[in-house]
């Protein structure tokens, strides 16, 4: 039995009711359906907004973060008035303003192996709008184990990938990517940047696929991967097949329950100890400021040249991380050195590289030049 629509709802959804593929019955289906959106960031913003506007009856939001000023370049569900607010609460307010007739359920916590099955069990479709590999593998495996479709998308700078992974009818994420890249090989958006409108384009496609699945119309992206590039303005499609060796959905699958995804990926999914090179290898900005009084310390900036236009430390030598391995001969291993980048992630990798090349007197500026700007020199901008 599908729920009836009120007169107000009929007016609100008039443009849907006019499309024969949706119609009154389709709109009732949307009202009766539920979607879990994992992440309320770049992708989650347009997904949650459009699903709310479309009248999906119950929408769950999982996020543990707070709204930060650097989010607003692309995370359009949040606003200046909700800076500092829990993201799920900020998103819920905006969605209910757009459509007070829906129910928004918030999970103000990280999506983990402990809570994922319980949270996702209540929803028809899972939308993967996360920003890290552990949570992506977790969302995939949860969807496979619960027999639900996982509407996947991922973005980087100008590139987007979208697919619907639904193991009952086609391949899953692991069929395509059996294992994640080693930590550090693929930069995140926080390090590599992303064109603000890119998640708008890609998230809107995710929302489209979600609505098609709920309505049972059209040809979903099951078994196809869409590759979008904003600079070339190209849309490429490739065909995906089930991988017979898939460890979660193949005939000889050996992963039968959720695993430790942080261990599997070698990186934290939600632990915010970023910008650190680990015990003994870090130097705090204030300590560096004191040590610099005595000179002799070489500052190595491993950011890209265009980032130097935003902020720089006087006297620092710039060798972008990607060139470091080839330019080690330019550095004196006998000299004390402090490596830094924007927030400490790239410099931690640079430090690993330097140590493995025999450098011993190296430290990582914890939290990068942004932490320096916060703690030592407020005249520098934070980006």
């Amino acid at each position: 039995m599908l729920p009836p629509l009120t007169h107000e709802e009929i007016l609100r959804y008039s443009r849907h009711l006019l499309i024969p593929e949706v119609g009154l019955r389709g709109q009732q289906k949307l009202k009766a359906s539920s979607v879990l959106v994992i992440g309320t960031g770049g992708l989650g913003s347009p997904v949650a907004l459009y699903l709310a506007a479309a009248g999906v009856g119950r929408i769950g939001l999982v996020d543990y973060d707070v709204v930060d000023a650097s989010n607003l370049q692309r995370q359009i569900i949040h606003g200046t008035s909700t800076l500092g607010m829990r993201k799920v609460e900020s998103a819920r307010r905006r969605m209910l303003d757009l459509n007070p007739d829906i129910e928004v359920v918030v999970y103000d916590e990280p999506f983990t192996s402990e809570n994922a099955m319980r949270i996702a069990a209540d929803y028809d479709v899972i939308v993967d709008g996360t920003d890290n590999f552990p949570t992506r593998y977790l969302s995939n495996d949860v969807a496979v184990f619960l027999g639900k479709p996982n509407v996947y998308a991922s973005i980087f700078r100008f590139d987007g990938q979208v697919s619907v992974f639904y193991a009952k009818e086609g391949p899953c994420y692991r069929c395509l990517f059996p294992a994640p890249p080693p930590p550090g090989l693929v930069p995140s958006c926080a390090e590599g940047g992303v064109l603000g409108v890119l998640p708008g384009t890609i998230g809107s496609i995710q929302a489209t696929e979600t609505l098609k699945l709920l309505l049972g119309i059209g040809e979903p992206l099951i078994g196809r991967l869409l590759l979008y590039n904003a600079l070339d303005m190209s849309f490429d499609f490739v065909e995906l097949k089930k991988n017979p060796n898939c460890r979660v959905c193949g005939p000889n699958a050996d992963i039968k329950e959720l695993i430790d995804y942080e261990e599997f990926c070698g990186v934290p999914g939600h632990d915010r100890e970023e910008g650190s090179a680990g015990a003994g290898w870090d130097i705090a900005p204030t300590e560096l400021a004191e040590r610099l009084q005595n000179n002799g310390i070489l500052l190595l900036d491993v950011r890209e040249p265009h980032e130097l236009e935003i902020s720089r430390l006087p006297g620092a030598v710039n060798i972008p991380l990607g060139q470091l391995a080839a330019r080690l001969s330019e550095l004196d291993s006998a000299r004390e050195m402090v490596v830094f980048c924007k927030a400490g992630t790239r410099s931690a990798r640079a430090l690993e590289l330097l140590v493995s090349a025999g450098f011993r007197k190296v430290k990582n500026l914890k939290g990068g030049i942004n932490a320096w700007a916060r703690e030592v020199d407020p005249s520098l901008p934070i980006y």
């Binding site: 973060d65 920003d131 980087f156 590139d159 395509l176 059996p178 994640p180 590759l227 490739v238 990607g322």
Partner: protein
């Protein structure tokens, strides 16, 4: 000649080139010619024993080479190879 389309994350290693023309009778030879032109790509594409890394997919036209003859898949003049690495971004 066949070409290989390079996704943004890997363009860092190809002087920002989006598409590279290559020589070769097979996918392996074409990839070898790509790496000859851009040597730093090798560690990003292959693991120690010469296998494509598990987070890198190579599609010939629309089909994963895994479903063809893998790296030994023969290439025609106008074939297009597409490199698809896993990317994680979305929320941040």
């Amino acid at each position: 000649m066949p070409s290989i389309k390079i996704p943004t994350p890997l363009r860092y290693y190809t002087d920002q080139k989006a598409e590279v023309t290559v020589r070769g009778q097979t996918v392996a030879e074409a990839m070898e010619h790509l790496i000859e032109q851009y040597p730093t790509l090798r560690t990003h594409l292959y693991n120690g024993d010469g296998q494509l890394r598990p987070f890198v997919n190579l599609f010939l036209n629309k089909t994963n080479i895994r479903e063809l003859q893998g790296l030994e898949t023969p290439l025609k003049e106008d074939d297009q190879l597409l490199l698809i690495p896993s990317i994680a971004g979305g929320a941040q």
